[in-house]
Symmetry: C2
Subunit: 223 residues, 2 copies
DNA sequence: GTCTATACCAGGATAGAC
DNA sequence: GTCTATCCTGGTATAGAC
């Protein structure tokens, strides 16, 4: 992740433990507030309150609101593709796809704020992470797409455009974080239990595998 | 759509053609700006500029920024489920699901701004349309879910939780509007041609049908 | 109904004490 | 490194002429 450079705090030198802890606290609070309000909607005051410290401290550590936002995004992007590396050419398609979907579902569950910040950023034009999407992400999708094309040529899964497949998988998994409010409203619940979320995860996995022409055991279809 | 009441312009009485035209112009401009910037990020000045008229006119017609935003949302919600009524119990599952997905894909293509405003609203907690989601939408999903459950009981499609299915279908279709920037970045194109979008639409339809255990001709699988 | 000019306030950023 | 007090821009909303 070289496109977005995290702000180096004021001094430009390594700081002591208290500073690092403050910084981490701010980042965490900022992620939550940016997720709830968007970039414009979030105020430094609210982030400061969420981080239990006065406003100027935020400026001391990150300079500007925009720099803080960039730091949050950097933090998010560094993990966004972390679980994505299960696509090895020799691997079993059903196994690889299944664990990819499960990893993405877990990410939505464990870092819903991060998912929403990312969604908000892309939704409004990816002004900050645009270069990252067209360079780094594009390259990765291209690579993994080749693996999938290999599987298709080998008759190991249905013919699915690899890029379209990725967009659909991302959408199907991230929607549980990004649109959680809608999910809760339609289901008539205040929250999803771990058990309920696990059940949903298996629904998504099964749906995605069938969508790729694979049954749960990974057997390719007659087609 | 009774939950959100569109603002009745200043006089409270029907206005003449020029007023109606201005109002429609403002709504259209507002939808676009709200889509690009979010509620907070959008400014009345920018909407006014987009509508080619001075700022106070917006307040004349809609009172406040929030009222204008509500009017835009009402407009969007009225069409959001319009195409959703292909789910008739007697219908063919593959045919019903296919035309539903196609309708949603067309909506994403033709009203991307509307889709983004909606996404942004839900993403940030559905503060304005929350009641609509838990009343009207919930009821509709419940109804259509019964139809799907009937199909499953009749062995006409795979066992898929109907609610989960809807969330996935919405996600898979709306992502092409909401995350268009990401799609373009990863594909390395500035825009999608009609032909390219049609091809993607068929990818999504095929994937969704297989996901439901249906092939393109609507034959249920052995399962 | 349409527009110019302006009141008013929220919020980002900084000065400067400790 | 931490915090109080304050500056100042930008943005909603309105007054009031036409």
């Amino acid at each position: 992740m070289t496109i977005i450079s995290a702000e180096v705090p004021a001094s430009g030198r390594a700081r002591r433990a208290s500073g690092l802890r403050s910084e981490a606290t701010i980042l965490q609070a900022a992620e939550r507030v940016f997720a709830e309000r968007g970039f414009k909607g979030a105020s430094m005051s609210e982030i400061a309150a969420a981080a239990h410290m006065p406003k100027p401290n935020l400026h001391y550590y990150f300079g500007t609101k925009e720099a803080l936002y960039r730091a949050v995004l950097t933090d998010i992007l560094e993990t966004w593709l972390g679980e994505a590396d299960a696509f090895v050419p020799d691997g079993d398609p059903a196994q690889a796809l299944g664990s990819y979907v499960r990893a993405k579902m877990r990410w939505s569950r464990e870092r819903p704020h991060a998912s929403r910040v990312f969604a908000n950023e892309v939704l409004h034009g990816a002004l900050f992470i645009g270069p990252y999407l067209s360079d780094d992400l594009r390259r990765r999708v291209e690579q993994k797409g080749k693996v999938i094309e290999g599987w298709i040529r080998g008759g190991r899964m249905a013919r699915v455009d690899p890029r379209a497949l990725f967009f659909m998988l991302w959408a199907m998994t991230q929607t549980w974080a990004d649109f959680a409010v809608q999910v809760h409203a339609v289901l008539g619940v205040a929250d999803l239990s771990e058990a309920a979320y696990d059940a949903i995860t298996e629904e998504v996995v099964a749906f995605a595998l069938r969508g790729c022409g694979l049954d749960a055991d990974g057997r390719p279809p007659a087609t």
